[in-house]
């Protein structure tokens, strides 16, 4: 199976209500699961903001890795506060995308109750993605960095 086939397959599934699809080529094994696993219901009429629309379409799985592959490590915020990529506005960021980091190395600061808390890397690896913006609030469990372990 090549990239084109996969692309075609994805296009094929797009817009259907199939929510699981498996394929094994060797002994020809197909598995299709369709129909929303959640109870379906027609969409309501466009309306002023209401509690029924209060949940984001895809609630962020708090504290869980958001990467598609399990190989990446997600560094999440252990506290609630304000995220800073650098020790001061003028200073350089602790890390940039592509930087190699060591376990225990400071990745960012989170200010909470007037105190700066250093957030350290949990493993050796490479910074693949920075998910929070400097000077923005972060909640508990919010993903901050994706690290590809060395």
């Amino acid at each position: 199976m090549n990239l084109k086939e996969i692309r075609d397959l994805i296009a094929l599934l797009q817009g259907t209500d199939i929510y699981e699809f498996q394929l094994e080529r060797g002994g020809v094994k197909v598995r299709i699961r369709r129909g929303a696993p959640l109870p379906e219901g027609r969409e309501p009429a466009a309306a002023p903001p209401r509690m029924e629309e209060a949940f984001p379409q895809e609630p962020r799985p708090v504290g869980a890795p958001i990467s598609s592959t399990d190989r990446l490590i997600t560094v999440t915020s252990p506290i609630v506060g304000t995220f800073y990529r650098a020790p001061s506005p003028e200073a350089q960021s602790f890390v940039e995308i592509g930087d190699r980091v060591k376990k225990g190395q400071v990745l960012c600061l989170i200010e909470a109750m007037k105190l700066m808390n250093e957030i350290e890397s949990e493993a050796d690896g490479t910074v693949v993605k920075i998910l929070a913006e400097s000077a923005q609030p972060v909640e508990y469990g919010e993903p901050l960095f994706l690290i590809e372990p060395a």
Partner: protein
């Protein structure tokens, strides 16, 4: 007191009556159509009897089957709710002849008030103010023209057997009168089985205010204050409140007295509502009398603390009213909104399965509904899903609370009028209490 009551209705009002019976220790019999086998009113009743197919004419309006259901279950009385057989004088009569108590007014009350022209005449005689217009039925366009000149245009031509705002013709110019008159007669004949029409002066921007009354077998009548029902679309009420933001204490007393006089004049019995039009100069006029429990009766319950359905049952069982006019007191303010399964802009009905329903709750909120998550709203009946009521110490609190209640209601899977109701209760004029029967027009695209 009755030991068992059959409820000849469905939906929230059937459940409402069952609740009253349960609290009074009275057994209940639900009747249902094949489309309603899984309905909450069937689930809530002690017994249930299927009385016909989905079509209401063959089930909920099927007098022989409903009376037989009462007979085979030994029900001593029938509560008709609203709609269906509630204002059918024939049904009330047949109940009486079958020895089953009809929980409502006498057949004579229903018959008289069903004829709007006659009712108008009767009220005028009793000294209740009526809108300037004809005495009884008008038979030809010449007569209509003479009257129009006397009372002045514009006028409304109404079917004597219509009601609830159905079968109206508004006439602005004398030249259009003859044609309009003929059309009104034809429509009346087609729609209500009689060409009888009558004429009233059109009063322009006005309010629709109704007075709830209770009358016992001994001729004692009390009123329970007013409900302001001006928020209507095509004469279908959407929002009701009590007290009315328009009434002064003095006017309230005068309208209450007039309603009591009206009820006494026709020897009315049980619960009823006298509808008045209140014009811009604060003159009020008798419109019609509704001889049933009304959809919006909970508004009155919230401010008086009374249970109107229980009072209906007590009266029907022959008990005298337990209170005098001076015992009735009002507290706070209540607003009701009707959540219908309709598209909020085009008002097309929206039956189907409710995906999720989380009713509002908390302080001051009452919900009357027979729907629930995964309930399938059948296409055969009216579109009322739920009545949501908010009580507040003041009108301001009631308004903010009904707004909050609507915002927190989760009801998905079908279209509902909630978005329209949200717009209404957030409207600055509504918040100020400044509105007339034309208020809803601003939210509804012209047809």
């Amino acid at each position: 007191m009755f030991k068992k009551i059959l409820i000849a209705n469905r939906g929230e009002i059937a459940l409402r009556v069952i609740r009253a019976c349960r609290e009074m220790g009275i057994k209940t019999v639900a009747v249902y159509s094949e489309a309603d086998a899984q309905s909450l009113h069937v689930r809530a009743a002690d017994e249930s009897v299927c009385v016909g197919p989905a079509d209401a004419a063959a089930s909920y309006r099927n007098i022989p089957n409903i009376l037989s259901a009462a007979e085979i279950t030994d029900a001593e009385a029938i509560h008709p709710g609203y709609g269906f057989l509630a204002e059918d004088p024939n049904f009330a009569e047949v109940c009486a002849s079958a020895g089953i108590k009809f929980i409502g007014p006498t057949p004579e009350n229903i018959k008289l008030m069903g004829n709007k022209a006659k009712a108008r005449e009767m009220m005028a005689k009793a000294g209740v103010p009526v809108i300037p217009g004809s005495q009884g039925v008008i038979n030809d366009d010449r007569e209509a023209q003479r009257l129009a000149r006397k009372i002045g245009l514009p006028i409304i031509i109404k079917s004597a057997n219509g009601g609830g705002g159905r079968g109206l013709r508004l006439v602005h110019t004398e030249v259009s009168l003859p044609n309009a008159f003929l059309t009104a007669q034809t429509e009346s004949l087609a729609g209500f089985g009689s060409a009888d029409v009558y004429i009233e002066k059109y009063l322009g921007e006005s309010r629709h205010i109704e007075i709830q009354i209770l009358a016992d077998d001994r001729g004692r009548v009390v009123h329970l204050g007013e409900r302001e029902c001006s928020i209507q679309r095509r004469h279908q009420k959407l929002v009701e409140e009590s007290p009315s933001p328009a009434l002064t204490e003095k006017l309230r007393r005068r309208m209450g007295d007039a309603a009591v006089e009206a009820a006494k004049a026709v020897r009315y019995r049980n619960a009823g509502t006298v509808e008045f039009l209140l014009d811009g100069k604060m003159n009020f006029y008798f419109l019609e009398m509704n001889t049933r429990i009304q959809v919006e009766h909970p508004v009155t319950e919230m401010v008086t603390g009374l249970d109107l359905v229980k009072e209906q049952i007590l009266i029907a069982s022959g008990q005298p009213l337990r209170f005098k006019q001076r015992d009735i007191s009002y507290r706070g303010h209540c607003i009701e909104v009707r959540v219908n399964a309709e598209h909020p802009e085009h008002f097309t009905p929206s039956p189907g399965e409710i995906a999720e329903f989380i009713p509002p709750g908390g302080p001051g909120v009452r919900v009357d509904t027979a729907v629930y998550s995964r309930y399938r709203v059948p296409p055969h009946y009216d579109s009322l899903l739920a009545k949501v009521l908010a009580y507040g110490q003041t009108r301001e609190e009631a308004v903010s609370r009904i707004t909050r209640a609507l915002d927190e209601t989760v009801l998905t899977g079908v279209h509902t009028t909630i978005p329209l109701l949200q717009k209404i209760v957030q409207d600055p004029d509504f918040r100020r209490g400044k509105y007339t029967t034309s208020f809803v027009d601003r939210f509804v695209p012209r047809a």
